[in-house]
């Protein structure tokens, strides 16, 4: 009997009804609900903004736009800013999740708003209505910009595509790179004309946000048009299926396009500056007071009331958080990981306040190079940094500096031999980077004078010093067998929560991320100004181009506590490099440098002399397509009771990066190319 019931029940489910359900489902929110009032629009905006391709704490260059805060770290994609032990630390040659599918989802949202909102115009005052449309254009511009700098020419989907539909309607081929940048320009201009001058809600865009991002985007476009020409093969080609110039610019139009975009970048940046709405953050700044200047630059990254902030992505505990402090804090604050962002010595060498050898590298011995003479000795590691630029101290934690109320002890090892001490290695070149401190005879042989630690805790070697036990490595490492300690002798300070009472953990951080700040606008104006002068163009608004560039650089340098320019920025490669170097310094560890290196086309071997924004001999840190970075390793000498420093290629978890010319344009995802009759792969792949 029971069995019959069961069979009957199964039978019942098999014969289902066929009545038409034509009642609109009440749990689906429709246009009438969203487009008729401001709170409905807020929902629509929230959806769009949550999908924006912003690069903040939830972006990892190696992975792409995944909105994922796991392993949060900055500047580790082969830009020389910082290093990380893991595979995520590799050159920016592609993204695990290509920014393709997600882009079209967001484009559809923006296009839908542009097409549908006019039907509901009567519900809003004109200013508000225009602002919403402006938001949609801003979103579209941001998406096309994010795609263009990855792929070059992309399918310009500027209307809602209805499905099902004709194949010609559904399939949109890639446009040329020039058309793509023109679309970015047109969408930004449209947004600028529609948006209100101040954001009606926190997190919404406004006219000046759009102008600031426009200047950044146009600088990218202009640089690509100009510097593609410096690359072997000119980095251009026609798509196989469509014959459209999907990559690069035609030889005859490149120069004109570059000038046009530089002018746009300049004018947009100038308009933000001239508005007087923003200024550099100087709340704690005081002339000549290095400590105040340092503290000022630490505070500016967490102060939501900063006049420098143009566009900020805010977080809030416990609902919307990230985990930067859980992955990138010094080892003693491990929670559950640490040391994700270890700045390099090469990066440090961009900054003022260090004695140098004649080749520009930081001086660690009293000789003429780091293999010559004997080590300079310091009573405490911080003495080495006594004159360091305050901005560098705000970005980087030095060995022995204080963070969250604790001294950050970083020590590579202890040296017990006699002083004065000769350099530990006879050769510090790129090729010998794989010979490490633990391979030195002073460490491996019987009469040992060098003590190092493989790991923390019981892995520490102990040296007796003045009757007390001293660990060979500092509390934060470096440990030669544990990449979770410090890798380079330095730690990133920027973006870390400096509050001693804050307990880090995964998903516990809520610092805001500044996506656009006034300093960048100044640098955009400066770079475009120099480039325009180099191209022999007149100033678009009659201002003195070189004067604008000079004062922008000096304003930033003054706030940073750096040495001001002696004269004016000049209209040559030298002047351009002053601006580039300032940009590399000021905007370091903000997800910006990797794009700058990419648009300057200085990452492949032939042009790598320009990698640092200033001229540096490429063979010092690279070998053909590959390159590496250095750390600054502090050692303690028991004979003298003092510290000395050794400048050596990354000792722990050595990373070798590789960058080739094809990497300036990411490959179009293979599946998209093979399933479509019109989507072209990059012609040089």
């Amino acid at each position: 009997m029971k069995r019959i019931y069961i069979v009957f029940l199964i039978g019942l489910f098999t014969f289902s009804g066929c009545a038409d359900l034509d009642i609109p489902p009440p749990n689906v929110v429709g246009d009438e609900t969203l487009f008729t009032n401001e709170s409905g629009m807020k929902v629509y905006m929230a959806r769009m903004y949550s999908r924006m391709p912003f690069e903040d704490f939830k972006y990892m260059a190696q992975w792409g736009i995944e909105y994922n805060a796991w392993l949060g770290s900055m500047g580790i994609e082969g830009t020389g800013e910082a290093l990380n032990r893991d595979g995520i630390c590799s050159a920016f040659t592609g993204e695990r999740t290509p920014y393709w599918t997600e882009a079209f989802v967001l484009l559809r949202d923006a296009n839908y708003l542009i097409e549908t909102l006019p039907d509901y115009q009567s519900n809003f005052p004109e200013v508000t209505y225009n602002h919403y449309l402006g938001e949609a254009y801003f979103v579209r511009a941001t998406v096309f910009y994010a795609m263009a700098r990855r792929f070059g020419g992309v399918p310009l989907v500027t209307k809602v595509i209805r499905y099902p539909g004709d194949a010609d309607e559904l399939e949109v081929p890639r446009s040329s790179e020039e058309e793509t940048w023109n679309q970015v320009l047109a969408d930004f201009d449209q947004a600028i004309s529609l948006l209100q001058p101040t954001s009606p809600e926190r997190g919404y865009s406004n006219r000046y946000i759009a102008l600031a991002f426009k200047s950044e985007a146009m600088l990218y476009a202009a640089s690509v048009a100009k510097y593609n020409e410096t690359v072997t093969g000119r980095l251009t080609g026609l798509g196989q299926k469509t014959g459209v110039r999907v990559m690069g610019f035609a030889a005859e139009s490149a120069a004109a396009a570059s000038r046009k975009y530089f002018k746009e970048a300049y004018s947009a940046a100038r308009e933000v500056i001239a508005s007087g709405r923003y200024s550099l953050y100087k709340k704690k700044w005081a002339a000549g007071d290095r400590d105040a200047q340092y503290q000022n630059m630490v505070d500016m990254f967490s102060d939501l009331a900063s006049p420098e902030n143009i566009y900020v992505k805010e977080y809030g505990y416990p609902t919307f958080t990230h985990g930067y402090d859980a992955y990138s804090a010094p080892f003693i604050f491990k929670a559950p990981l640490a040391s994700g962002t270890c700045p390099t010595l090469d990066f440090m060498e961009l900054f003022d306040g260090f004695d140098r050898y004649s080749n520009g590298t930081i001086k660690v011995t009293n000789g003429s190079s780091n293999t010559d003479g004997t080590y300079l000795m310091y009573d405490s590691p911080m003495d080495f940094f006594a004159n360091a630029e305050p901005r560098l101290r705000a970005y980087v934690i030095f060995p022995g500096d204080v963070f969250k109320g604790r001294e950050i002890e970083i020590r590579a090892g202890v040296y017990t031999g006699s002083a004065p001490i000769s350099p530990l290695f006879s050769n510090y070149t790129y090729a010998t980077a794989e010979t490490r401190y633990q391979n030195l005879a002073a460490y491996t042989q019987g009469s040992k004078t060098l003590y190092l630690s493989a790991r923390e805790g019981n892995g520490q070697e102990i040296v007796s010093y003045e009757g007390e036990d001293m660990t060979a490595a500092g509390a934060n490492g470096p440990f030669y067998d544990n990449g979770e300690g410090c890798l380079t002798g330095l730690y990133g300070r920027k973006w870390l929560n400096p509050d001693p009472s804050f307990e880090a953990g995964e998903g516990k951080s809520a610092q805001p991320f500044i996506l656009m700040r006034y300093a960048e606008v100044l640098l955009n104006a400066a770079e475009a100004a120099v480039e325009l002068r180099l191209a022999g163009e007149a100033s678009p608004d009659g201002t003195d181009l070189l004067q604008v560039a000079t004062s922008a650089v000096n304003e930033i340098r003054e706030r940073a506590g750096a040495t001001l320019l002696a004269g004016s920025v000049t209209a040559d490669d030298n002047g351009r490099n002053i601006v580039r170097k300032e940009r590399r310094k000021e905007l370091a560890l903000e997800h910006k440098t990797k794009w700058d290196l990419r648009r300057w086309r200085v990452q492949h071997y032939e042009e790598r002399d320009g990698f640092w924004g200033e001229y540096r001999e490429k063979d010092a840190f690279s070998n053909n397509a590959r390159y590496r970075f250095r750390g600054l390793y502090p050692f303690f000498s028991t004979q003298t009771g003092k510290y000395f420093f050794d400048a050596r290629f990354q000792w722990v978890s050595l990373k070798t990066f590789e960058y080739n010319i094809v990497d300036y344009y990411f490959a179009i995802p293979g599946g998209e190319v093979s399933k479509s009759a019109v989507i072209d792969q990059q012609p040089n792949r």
């Binding site: 029971k2 072997t232 980095l235 070998n623 080739n660 094809v662 093979s674 792949r685």
Partner: protein, 270 residues
């Protein structure tokens, strides 16, 4: 218990499809292509390096119609031959790109100028031969010497395709510059591996000489001495190779300037 298995078996049958009863009997890809790349003038193989800077082989099985994706690229072996033993039967379009005059040439608007690629029906063991015009020829001069753990080698670089011929074939492709023919660098690759080349080089010892502009032109056909860097440990056997390239990328727009190589030599470091 019985009831459960009864229900389960009903449930199981609800989730079946007819393909469940078919045997997946697709044959494994087992056809072989063997190819060689030789200099059309001398018939000598075009030596290369196995890796993405070497001679790239791209197979496209185009009988499926428009919009076919090429097979995954593979690369020639250092001796200028290639082989793939895991191919499906079919008609393949084979193009190779390397340090020689491109086989498929088109002008700036995409109009084909010449196509020396091959369309081959691959079944069983199929052999193909590409006769190309390599850019350069690199030869050893005398035996390399080893002094204090450093290799000193003498090489001679000559053009394997004349300047006029190069210009005749490349200029119609558009964007021509006389700088294309400049020799930009000579490399001496040293490695413990017998497959020494750019990819398998040892960065501690490999060295290069770079030339700017047309500086090298006067050295064409001359003996050039190049020495390794660092110190190679004594008692070890190393392999060395020299390579040179011109300022022209293949395929066009890739920015990859591929080297022409000479044959590897084995050396004992005393």
């Amino acid at each position: 218990m019985k009831k459960i298995s009864y229900i389960l078996s009903i449930a199981l049958f609800s989730f079946t499809s007819c393909s469940l009863f078919e045997i997946d009997n697709k044959e494994v890809p087992a056809e072989t292509i063997q190819g060689e790349v030789v200099d059309v003038e001398t018939g000598e193989p075009v030596l290369t390096d196995q890796g993405s800077e070497g001679i790239r082989v791209r197979l496209t099985e185009d009988s499926w119609g428009e919009n076919v994706t090429p097979n995954p690229d593979f690369f020639c072996m250092p001796d200028g031959t290639f082989q793939n033993t895991k191919l499906f039967k079919g008609t393949y379009h084979i193009r190779i790109d390397g340090p020689f005059i491109p086989l498929m040439r088109e002008d700036e608007r995409g109009v084909p100028l010449a196509d020396e690629s091959q369309i081959v029906n691959i079944s069983g063991v199929t052999k193909v031969k590409f006769e190309v015009q390599p850019f350069l020829k690199i030869e050893w001069v005398d035996e390399p010497e080893v002094i204090n753990g450093k290799v000193r080698a003498k090489v001679r670089v000559t053009r394997a395709v004349s300047e006029e011929e190069f210009r005749n074939k490349i200029e119609p492709m558009g964007g021509y510059s006389s700088s294309f023919q400049n020799i930009t660098d000579i490399q001496l690759f040293v490695s413990y591996s017998s497959s020494v080349g750019y990819r398998a080089r040892d960065e501690r010892w490999s060295n290069k000489i770079e030339y700017t502009g047309s500086a090298f032109n006067s050295l064409l056909g001359q003996t050039i001495t190049i020495e390794s860097t660092g110190t190679i440990p004594s008692g070890r056997v190393v392999f060395i190779r020299a390579a040179a390239r011109i300022n022209y990328d293949t395929p066009k727009g890739s920015g990859t300037r591929r080297w022409n190589y000479n044959e590897p030599l084995q050396l004992l470091i005393p």
